[in-house]
């Protein structure tokens, strides 16, 4: 978990920042990292403090996780469209590190969170939510199985809409169910990003009307527009 201050902007749920360390960004595995890394806003505070949730999956997140209190962070943002406003009848479906943007979303507009993790250790983050049901692959916490099992159960109660963030497989499953149940869903996508502000055209995703830049037109897309 990492936190910094942005006095200029008040990010909206689902938006992200591009983060890098000011010192020794680079020189890790394969001489990386080189570019900044996209990281979702997990939680914001009145005083402008912004909190991020990081999982060490490579040289960039590793370096960010190593950052010690007081060391300089290079930060650009907030970027992206973010989620549209939702209500208490909205289901928030998150998997793994994908739970981050859903916390700020719940803090802002409420809604029940359905969160899936590998195991108890990774499920730690769920504690931050005020209202959440958890599933773990190994059953060490909450429901043993997939978060989509929880979603199927909740879908009976006819939620007004769904907001999801997590690994591609999860988003795919959510998109699928949303269509079948005719429930509108917004999915927060990930893509490799070089800039974060529409300059490189590197982060595109296929939609019903062609490739769109995830950083500029997303990262949140209506499930229905994704090809």
């Amino acid at each position: 978990m990492l936190s910094t201050i942005d006095r200029l902007a008040r990010p909206r749920p689902g938006q992200f920042y591009m983060l890098a360390t000011a010192e020794r960004w680079g020189g890790g595995e394969g001489e990386r990292p080189f570019l900044a890394r996209a990281v979702s806003v997990m939680r914001t505070h009145e005083d402008g403090v912004i909190e991020f949730l990081l999982e060490d999956v490579g040289p960039g997140t590793k370096r960010l996780c190593e950052l010690e209190a007081g060391q300089e962070l290079t930060i650009l943002g907030p970027f992206g469209n973010g989620f549209s406003a939702s209500g208490s009848e909205t289901l928030l479906v998150g998997g793994g590190i994908g739970i981050a943007p859903l916390l700020e979303l719940q803090d802002t507009w409420g809604g029940l969170a359905l969160l899936g993790f590998r195991d108890a250790e990774h499920a730690e983050g769920a504690r931050l939510f005020t209202d959440a049901v958890v599933a773990t692959d190994d059953g060490s916490v909450g429901h043993r199985g997939l978060v989509t099992d929880l979603l199927d159960r909740e879908l009976e109660r006819a939620p007004t809409s769904i907001r999801a963030c997590g690994p591609p497989a999860l988003l795919h499953a959510v998109k699928d169910r949303a269509r079948r149940h005719g429930v509108p869903a917004e999915l927060a996508l990930e893509a490799p990003m070089a800039c974060g502000f529409g300059a490189c055209y590197g982060c595109v995703v296929a939609t019903v009307d062609g490739y769109k830049r995830v950083c500029l037109d997303g990262p949140v897309f209506e499930a229905a527009v994704l090809a």
Partner: protein
């Protein structure tokens, strides 16, 4: 004020084509960007005659001190550019350079002719890194072919013609000389170097487009060598680029003979890199023996 091909520029630092989208940036950073634009001129990304979707994702790979991209020149085509982009870009406080690419001399001619009619366009940059359908080599890789292409389109415009040379050639200086002989007003280099990445899961080439182009610090000293050779060979001004991250890097390209310096990949890490590097440049005044 600096003078480049008869165009007045605030300083020597411009953006590299395809590395800064002024319209997207205005959406993200607000209209203020139009007042304090980081670059002394705005170079559009490559415009083609017909719209292109670009390559399938993934389009990026972070390599050792660099970036490999396989974007595939997505753009809405000449028509949309003339109709929508030029009016919007005309609000920029700096001159507009339009970068175009055609797969045949006819196409290039058509692109140049239509831009000639637009007063908003200050200069035209020809991206000749497009593969020649016949040989498979870049159309800009052969000095004689390049001279012929220039000779042909030169007649079609009074605007400054900048040739964006391809680095995928045995002799970049000879290509620059060919462009000059054909009537180019300036050359720009280097474009990205052909590179590849393999998917971590062993499923083959990572990039949707197959191979891609390497940019960033990794290619800086290759750019420096090519700019040095080209500047020593031609009399027309040279726009140098490749891995420039700071004023010192820019100064080295100028010392190697560049009139202007373009910033590409570094703008992804710092959207205000252009202004920062122009500031850092002002401080330095090496003038070296060549």
């Amino acid at each position: 004020m600096i003078e480049f091909c008869g165009i007045e520029l605030r300083h020597r630092v411009i953006n590299a084509s395809g590395c800064f989208d002024a319209l997207a940036a205005a959406r993200v950073f607000g209209e203020a960007l139009f007042e304090e634009f980081p670059f002394a001129a705005y170079v559009s990304k490559t415009i083609t005659l017909h719209a292109r979707e670009g390559n399938p994702p993934p389009r990026l790979w972070e390599s050792e001190a660099g970036l490999i991209n396989s974007i595939g020149l997505p753009n809405r085509g000449l028509g949309a550019y003339l109709e929508n982009d030029i009016p919007a870009l005309a609000r920029l406080p700096v001159p507009l350079f339009t970068n175009v690419m055609g797969s045949t001399a006819e196409e290039v001619g058509e692109l140049v002719e239509s831009l000639e009619e637009r007063p908003e366009v200050a200069a035209i940059e020809l991206n000749v890194s497009c593969p020649n359908v016949a040989t498979g080599l870049d159309i800009g890789a052969d000095p004689r072919g390049l001279e012929a292409l220039l000779a042909r389109v030169r007649a079609l415009t009074a605007k400054p013609l900048i040739v964006k040379l391809t680095p995928n050639t045995a002799d970049v200086a000879a290509c620059a000389a060919g462009a000059e002989a054909g009537g180019a007003d300036a050359v720009s280099l280097i474009n990205t170097l052909r590179a590849a990445a393999l998917a971590p899961d062993g499923s083959g080439l990572w990039l949707g487009g197959g191979s891609g182009g390497l940019s960033g610090p990794a290619i800086r000293t290759i750019a420096l060598a090519q700019v040095w050779r080209v500047a020593a060979r031609v009399a027309i001004p040279v726009i140098g680029m490749g891995g420039v991250c700071c004023g010192r890097d820019a100064r080295e390209l100028i010392d190697a003979g560049a009139a202007l310096v373009a910033i590409g990949t570094e703008s992804f890490r710092d959207p205000l890199a252009g202004a920062r590097i122009a500031r850092e440049l002002e401080g330095s005044f090496t003038q070296i023996a060549r």
